[in-house]
Symmetry: C2
């Protein structure tokens, strides 16, 4: 069916160099065990034939493919437009590329397929290990991977009390500082547009909520559960929840958003409601994406170390592939970057 380019094999090289296949293999993999003159001859033959070792054949024998899967259980529409996820992928890519691993990216068309996809890739040996985004059902996958001895790392905890093979970002510190900052700025009623319940399978552990609550408690402000709304990280949900909260509870003057796009949406809602930045409302973003810093330079933000999370996950999966049985989970801390100092660019005419 498909044209097969004839490519030189290790045997061709051996024949041309007048040595055995094994010697060629040695030159390729452990050339220090080969006499310098033989080595030279082999290398000559290799370049003369434009020989490239067949990675598939090596994989079959060695039993690993030098490839890691990055599997995200959300529609690809969502994934490739999510700058945080892309930053995680970025970190994963860099860590793996540096060590010579390839990255297969998969965002199966529907969520349920993702778990099968992870299993499929791993069990069919397309990949040596998987970096997985947590979502409901992931605990089953983890159990299965563990049982079968298949290496995996989760980007965030996959279930309550997971102790191994994850890289989590603890937002509590950032949310705590952000909330204190808002209170110190005079706000008394603070809305929280947080991550979706069940997103990570253990809503009670939402570190945004934890930090937010801790600051309120410390400063003697009563928690108002009705001020907390769930978004799904998107612009639209930020817009919607901002409007909902501000219309229902006009006393709220500050909003903590768990993602940058939700902050964008909140800002747009603010404009549409003819509210003025700082005068009527203050917003804190949740990711501190480079793009956000450029477009909204006055926006304070919790920082979300997505790149570092991905990079650590990449390093962790490599350690597992190299024989570590399991790796203790890593928890990265979010910071808070205050930027209020100049008024937010907004005019009344923007709301026409």
């Amino acid at each position: 069916m498909r044209k097969e380019p004839r490519m030189a094999t290790l045997y061709d090289v051996a024949a041309l160099a007048g040595v055995s296949p094994k010697t060629v293999s040695r030159v390729l993999n452990e050339s220090h065990l080969v006499a310098e003159t033989t080595r030279k001859r082999v290398l000559d033959a290799i370049s003369k034939l434009d020989y490239h070792p067949n990675a598939i054949a090596a994989s079959l024998k060695r039993k690993f493919s030098n490839t890691v899967g990055f599997v995200v259980p959300y529609g690809s529409d969502f994934v490739f437009q999510d700058l945080n996820m892309m930053e995680q992928l970025h970190g994963v890519h860099d860590a793996l590329t540096q060590e010579g691993y390839n990255v297969v990216v998969s965002a199966p068309l529907n969520k349920k397929d993702a778990l099968h996809e992870a299993i499929r890739l791993a069990k069919r040996r397309n990949v040596d290990g998987i970096i997985l985004y947590p979502s409901s059902g992931i605990d089953r996958i983890i159990a299965e991977f563990t049982y079968k001895g298949l290496p995996y790392v989760t980007l965030g905890m996959g279930f309550k009390d997971q102790r191994w093979n994850f890289v989590e970002v603890d937002m509590a510190e950032g949310a705590y500082l952000a909330t204190k900052y808002l209170i110190a700025s005079g706000h008394r009623y603070i809305g929280l547009i947080t991550r979706p319940t069940g997103f990570f399978n253990y809503p009670e552990n939402d570190s945004y909520y934890a930090g937010y609550n801790a600051a309120l408690v410390e400063l003697g402000i009563t928690l108002r559960p009705e001020f907390i709304r769930e978004g799904n990280f998107t612009f639209e949900s930020g817009y919607r929840e901002f409007r909902y909260l501000k219309e229902k509870y006009p006393e709220i003057t500050a909003f903590l958003c768990a993602s940058d796009p939700m902050a964008y949406g909140a800002i747009q809602a603010m404009k549409d409601m003819q509210l003025k930045w700082l005068e009527d409302v203050e917003i804190v973003a949740g990711d501190n994406l480079p793009l956000t810093q450029k477009i909204f330079p006055f926006l304070s933000s919790i920082s979300n170390p997505s790149y570092e999370q991905g990079r650590q996950a990449g390093k962790m999966i490599i350690a597992l592939l190299r024989g570590q049985k399991e790796m203790p989970g890593i928890v990265l801390k979010a910071e808070f970057i205050p930027r209020r100092g100049r008024p937010f660019p907004i005019s009344p005419s923007s709301n026409l």
Copy 2:
């Protein structure tokens, strides 16, 4: 070194089902050639043993890996933060996933490595084919791939007069319409912040310029070459070139930007220069990204069909893998989406 999970092989299945290996293989690949009862027995054995075919072994025999490489010759810092490139990847991913191919993403640490990386992946059989982003030096790669019969598709033309295996976006129509629109709105001096010369190896073919120029000619406006500046797609370059043009040629009242991030930068520069939207200056963006539509809903834009470009490239590489010798290049057309209708949200206080 690394723990090897013992997994069932096709022989185990054959033994348990009491049939020959070939029969199992038949059930897996062409099950219609197998008696229903035997098939049942084999399937039973498969599920009993939790058997998953080893893709590596199949690849070795079949001579293809069912994997396609997506190689971008820019620093990964650049790639994963570029929403257009991610949309292209998105399209590639969707097209390939749908047909059961895996996608390996690689953005080698430095530009020069990218070409080697493409060759390495293809020649070592990690991938069956490559989707390549054009950059200087790509013509050599194309020549080599062609010579060796290795399938490739380029996202945009890799060199002047390339006729096969590319998916290009022709911006001329969009730029033409955008320019006419600006002229019709009363602008007479229009700046163009275009793509970097040499980005695609044949600067004389810049379709932004072509469309811009065509509109000027048609409406009898003299082309002022000094009104044309090159950016590199980024916020920073948009900011810089806007300032440069507006400070040097204050008569310019409209700016056409070849990317959305450059339009963001231009908008920021406009604010910093205390200029007013529409009153002093009008800007047209170059990508029409979903995010831009949300953040700057009043911003007219040329549309850049990045997703579709990626999807077509995915379909094209599949056709090549399936035996097509070469595929005629595809040219997608950019449109223009006018959105001016409401003033741009900007106030004097934003420039403090």
